[in-house]
Symmetry: C2
């Protein structure tokens, strides 16, 4: 976890959030424009959301020497990085309750950026309020509808009115800015620190296993030296499609199994009607499009510098009409692969 203390914002003050419009304006000027004033940070990392968001925590954890730059949407973060407005972008890719975030996978295919790292953030919803507020004082609680849903049991016991707002950190900001008495916000611990609120309670979500995995993107791929993946385990993320015919997926997976390459993620995604923008060749005005019935997302343990992994991908390409390496990067957790399962003894609920 990042150890640095977040800077506390004066209520009513916050760094400008990047939007598509502000990016376009910046592109018209000769000197790239930042989101805020002169920064003490050498680097900048785009994330989706406002200060105090879980995505901001992930950006700070993944890029400890970078100023987190809030972006209004996922795509603005991709654009900010593509247009040299930031050095990295940190985006959620899957959540333990919500699943894979396909919108981010779609953007990964549309933009030529590279995954250079990963980080996971445990969602720890806190109940925040103005300093001095007691739990019994609360009559209303604000948050994003998903956060309200995830803390439903707790809030029900409290007997408060739930009010939905745009995001968790925005709820904390609203309570602080408008000095709302008797109003709570469900948000992160960092939001409490940023907006000067008290933490009345924490870890108030129903499901305790609420973890979001984020990817760190850069304009250039991370080049690992041969053998580096052995000391620091690397993970490689790919997307591919398959030809028609029975057993194609089985054959595709055999390129990893036959080389004892362990997978940490496999997912099929039905594609229905939406074409994939494949590539935008240099000089071409438009990108080519192609349709597939299914895309497959696979993460496997291994670095691209490893000749065994290179051979596996070469082997996979023989049968996959479309394949893209999204990135090869150091693994954050020693979770092991899909095949290393550690069954625990049955335990009883108490």
């Amino acid at each position: 976890m990042s150890q640095r203390q977040p800077q506390q914002l004066v209520p009513g003050m916050q760094p400008a959030v990047l939007t598509m419009d502000s990016l376009l304006r910046a592109a018209e000027q000769t000197v790239p424009q930042g989101a805020g004033e002169a920064s003490k940070f050498r680097y900048r990392a785009a994330y989706q959301g406002v200060p105090g968001a879980y995505s901001e925590m992930a950006a700070c954890k993944a890029c400890p020497d970078a100023e987190p730059v809030p972006c209004e949407q996922f795509e603005v973060a991709f654009q900010a990085l593509s247009q040299w407005t930031t050095d990295w972008a940190v985006l959620p890719i899957e959540n333990s309750l919500g699943g894979s975030i396909h919108a981010v996978y779609d953007l990964l295919l549309r933009y030529r950026l590279h995954i250079v790292g990963e980080t996971s953030i445990a969602v720890n919803h806190c109940l925040l309020a103005l300093p001095g507020t007691k739990l019994s004082d609360l009559t209303r609680v604000l948050s994003h509808p998903q956060a309200l849903a995830q803390t439903d049991t707790y809030l029900r016991k409290l007997g408060v009115v739930k009010e939905a707002v745009d995001d968790t950190a925005g709820a904390a900001q609203m309570v602080a800015r408008q000095q709302l008495q008797g109003v709570g916000a469900v948000a992160s611990r960092r939001a409490a620190e940023l907006y000067g609120l008290d933490i009345l309670d924490e870890d108030i979500q129903d499901a305790k296993d609420n973890v979001t995995r984020f990817i760190k993107l850069a304009r250039d791929p991370l080049l690992s030296r041969e053998g580096e993946g052995e000391a620091t385990p690397f993970k490689t993320s790919i997307v591919f499609s398959l030809k028609e015919g029975p057993g194609q997926l089985f054959k595709a997976l055999s390129v990893f199994a036959l080389r004892d390459i362990d997978m940490t993620k496999i997912e099929s995604r039905p594609m229905r009607t939406n074409p994939i923008v494949l590539t935008k060749p240099e000089g071409a005005a438009q990108a080519g499009k192609q349709r597939f019935n299914y895309l497959f997302y696979i993460d496997f343990v291994g670095a691209l510098s490893d000749p065994v992994c290179q051979n596996a991908l070469r082997h996979l390409q023989e049968s996959a009409p479309f394949m893209r390496v999204l990135g090869s990067y150091p693994m954050e957790l020693q979770l092991g692969g899909l095949d290393s399962n550690t069954p625990f003894d049955s335990i009883n609920e108490h």
Copy 2:
């Protein structure tokens, strides 16, 4: 699609939404209580949300002869069905943009219910307002934050203030109930019909491939006769874990590949800390729990009555310490399996 006309609700009137509390109250009474008054329907189908929600459309499509019963949360729908308050429950299981809905998979493992059907709903966001309103009259637009995000480009061009509320159908209801002039709601076509609003525009979302797949649950499994799966293609959904060791997933998939059984979905889910409640044996006060590093979700083409499928599952059980059949049911779409990919010629964006 269901052809029946939705009953238009008087603004301010709506069927009671089932909550955990109302289910407990119902359980205390001898005659199971319904959500509304005497119904013309013989059957009832629980869904999560309020009338006009996309989930309600799915419930009507999957259970055309059932009264849709709104439930406050996913789990209330599971309970309503388990406690004989409804005959079916229809729940979202995956979305083309958001991915698999793991919270519903979790409930499938905790409740002993069975998938007996599936249906897909294309999310078609409409812009609704009071009758007679013109697009240029709108100054504010209400909806669920996700719907507002999905229609961001459109709403930006319109230059309106976006306001987040609990759900899409609730936004439509609010505009109708409070007779809000100059206020729009992003919601379904059905919400417009239910609450007597005009549809100013439709299909206003950025991504056109926004499809949600729903499952239809029943207390008893659907029993298919041998050979039935050949005329009407059946799909079977399973969840399993694997033992530790390299190549286990490859071996697991071989039980399908070696029998030419086609898969339509495969997904790995890292489990981290959350134990799975496996079973609640008859007479036992508590269910047993077990932890796994990964769970695998697979849908394959085939009916449980087919001896080949039975053999495949028996074969899989040899190596899987945990396996559950979630259901075997008629396939809605002739999408083909994971292995039947139809690449189209490259087309250029215009």
